[in-house]
């Protein structure tokens, strides 16, 4: 029983170590005359991985521009 608990804890620790905690909002536009608009979000602790994820997940259009913004940098002006 002790072994099982130890293994479970170890697996849990590994999962926790790999859990992504940072949310990035993804904005993009298809035409230069259009403004950027939010198309979704990705979770990644690493900015480079966040860029890879945004490109591979939101690849349904040939965007002319795509940016990501970390959620924790957004300042709320009027709360919903």
């Amino acid at each position: 029983m002790k072994t099982v608990t130890s293994t479970t804890n170890s697996a849990s620790q590994r999962r926790t170590a790999l859990n992504e905690t940072r949310v990035w909002h993804v904005y993009a536009r298809r035409k230069y005359e259009e403004p950027l608009h939010e198309i979704g979000n990705v979770m990644a602790d690493d900015v480079e991985l966040a860029k890879v994820y945004a490109r591979s997940i939101y690849d349904e259009f040939s965007w002319v521009e795509m940016v990501i913004v970390p959620r924790d940098c957004i300042v709320t002006v009027i709360e919903s």
């Binding site: 170890s10 620790q13 590994r14 999962r15 170590a17 790999l18 992504e20 990705v42 979770m43 990644a44 602790d45 690493d46 480079e48 991985l49 860029k51 890879v52 994820y53 490109r55 591979s56 997940i57 690849d59």
Partner: protein
């Protein structure tokens, strides 16, 4: 049937190896499209699998134009090909996500080093494909770098599993460029098909991967030469089991 007009055994051999490696990487990546540690990583794995299989699909048709293909036409089609000139590491399923990351970081970067050296190739079909592949591989390299850092910094069993995967692939990947006097790669260099010798390709590759490994304190037998300002291997590679025709350890399957 395609018109046969290229007679170049060295180029035929390297293109076969590139195509087989891309095909095998794509298939191994595809297995992880629903098994990656996060949804985002799974989607990225699917995208990269598509890219790798796409690269293979643009390389195999080149083989049809070679005189060397005439002996057995079945060997130039991925569906009928029985020779497998991919690395022995890719013979079996990945044992875990760390094998995916190691392949992405070590092998994918090694093949890209070759394609970078072929961007001004005298063989036009390879030149065109190399430029496109190098462009697409930029995102793969970012993925590899991000995940190597992530797994290494997680510490404990996660880090040691990653290091074990990297170690299993290290020698064979460095050997893929061939020994210093490899007649195949040297012929490609002499004919302007690539712009580097095997040793120079290996050196370019080390400059690409070693800064990340070194910054993460992952130990491999390479050191930074402060005089030449370049990363260099500290010990010779094991060539005794390297099979030159298939550019891999052991004979092809």
């Amino acid at each position: 049937m395609a018109t046969t007009h290229v007679d170049n055994a060295a180029l035929f051999a390297v293109l076969s190896s590139l195509a087989d490696n891309k095909q095998a990487i794509g298939r191994r990546y595809a297995y992880w499209c629903n098994g990656a540690p996060a949804l985002e990583a799974a989607v990225a794995a699917a995208a990269m699998a598509q890219d790798e299989l796409g690269h293979a699909r643009t390389l195999y048709p080149l083989l049809e134009d070679f005189v060397q293909a005439e002996a057995d036409r079945g060997q130039v089609e991925p569906m009928t090909r029985t020779l497998h000139y991919h690395l022995a590491f890719l013979d079996r399923d990945f044992q875990g996500w760390s094998d995916f990351v190691a392949t992405n970081f070590l092998l994918d970067n090694a093949l890209t080093t070759f394609f970078e050296a072929a961007q001004n190739s005298s063989y036009e079909p390879l030149r065109q494909r190399a430029r496109k592949i190098v462009q697409e591989e930029r995102i793969h390299a970012l993925h590899a770098d991000g995940w190597v850092r992530r797994l290494a910094r997680a510490g404990g069993a996660v880090r040691s599993t990653l290091v074990a995967s990297l170690e299993r692939l290290w020698d064979e990947t460095l050997c893929w460029f061939g020994p210093g006097d490899d007649p195949t790669m040297h012929q490609l260099y002499r004919e302007g098909i690539i712009d580097a010798t095997p040793d120079e390709l290996r050196s370019r590759y080390l400059q690409k991967i070693m800064p990340a490994l070194s910054s993460l304190e992952i130990e491999f037998p390479a050191s930074f030469n402060t005089v030449t300002k370049r990363w260099e291997l500290r010990q010779p590679l094991p060539w005794d089991t390297w099979y030159a025709i298939a550019r891999r350890y052991g004979s092809s399957l």
